[in-house]
Amino acid sequence: MSAPSATAKVERVFREEYGRAVAVLVRVFGDIGIAEEAIQDAFAEALRRWRSAGPPPSPAGWIITTARNRAIDRLRREASRADRHAQAALLHAADEPPEEGPVRDDRLRLVFTCCHPALAPAARVALTLRLVGGLTTAEIARAFLVPEPTMAQRLVRAKGKIRDARIPYRIPKDADLPDRLKAVLAVVYLIFNEGYVAGSGDRLIREDLCAEAIRLGRLLAQLMPDEPEVMGLLALMLLIESRRAARTGPGGSLVPLAEQDRGRWDRDLVAEGQDLVRRCLRRDRPGPHQIQAAINAVHSDAPDAEATDWGQILRLYDLHLALAPSPIVALNRAVAVAEVEGPGPALALVDGLDLDRHHVYHAIRADLLRRLGRTAEAAEAYEAAITRTENTVERDFLRRRLRALAT
């Protein structure tokens, strides 16, 4: 085996198996720092060994076993120097079965630890990408447009809190599970949205974040097959992702849903997303992510914008508003009302919402006013939307709309 391909192989295993290895070793040693250090050692060893001997039949198993043995050797040396931390970790390891056994549970525990509400939201995102997703600190820093030392500091601080405050490494008890699961799904969706927002930061890396969020979504769906909201979130991300190629025009400009070339939608992702939505419907335990996925599935069904079943979308928004009322949901519902009942009734709904800070609110108002022929007011609303968005691609889109009013 040649050297570059062995390196590539180790890197692939590293990325794919990092979360699994961390999860097992955190359980064994009860400490994230020890687990991470041991895995780094094992991957360094893998790079040396696999180059000459080729990778073993089960690379992940090899990494976990090697990491565990290395850590125990090191902890024994440190424990003999009366290091209490090392002694505690060794004692912990003695009680834990070394095999990979319930890896499923191990990884789920790690997800719940990383997304614990006692951690700041930005720290939850960073920890999840680092420990579960196996991204490097540098990669996470680039994706979130912060300097690497800042991201490193954020991770160190979060891991310190997990250790010092003893944030548990386990699946929450039933009473806490709904809220904790919501927090986990929020982290995954935050990662996805960070990658989805067009035009800010390095585009390639941002798209990686979407892929990473979908990978996490697939993992969660595999770990928690009985949670329809997990399935709903995965479906939602797949359906949004399916439109990536159609969503940007020449020069990176934003193409709204109604004007997209639907032939450029990724049919495989659409089919997978729609299949998940159908499975959610059969469960009949609706939640916000499932409903948003279902709304996107209705859009995906329409061969062109005119064929969109807005009545169905409006019914889904009614359900969404009943389950999880929020002004943002009411705003999106108004868009469906405009298609079903006309821009007049929609504008009446929109004007009753307290969303002045949000550029989307003004953009939707502007569009409704334009359709009602109230051009001067529409122009004002576009201006309000433009001053409130920091995203250059969206701002360019709104400026084009504003210019089009005059013609």
């Binding site: 209490r84 614990h116 006692a118 010092d164 405050a165 003893r166 944030i167 548990p168 929450p172 008890k173 806490d176």
Partner: protein, 115 residues
Amino acid sequence: MKQYMLSVYQPDGAPPPSVDLEKIMNEVEAWRQEVKDAGEWVFTGRLHAPGTATVVRLRDDEMLITDGPFIEGKEHIGGFTIVQVADLDAALDWAEKFIRIAGLPVEVRPLLDED
């Protein structure tokens, strides 16, 4: 097991007349008994108003004594309980039960391990 300090933050001054203090104190007492029955109670300290506090500090080799709390604010620590539990989630559970009774925010903070 790990120890946590649950500090209760309350607004300065007397509680509004709508608050049934006696009922709350009885329920807090029942809460404390529940922590004790679970074998997870270590210590409770209830504090006088911050106006009763005195701060002592050293300035140029001279001991300086001043009236009032170290930090002036709109809220102060009204009291604290130390619990000994398995992990943060268990400490948060006790805090949540307390908040449902008293309606006041609680800071949950781990104690350094002493051994």
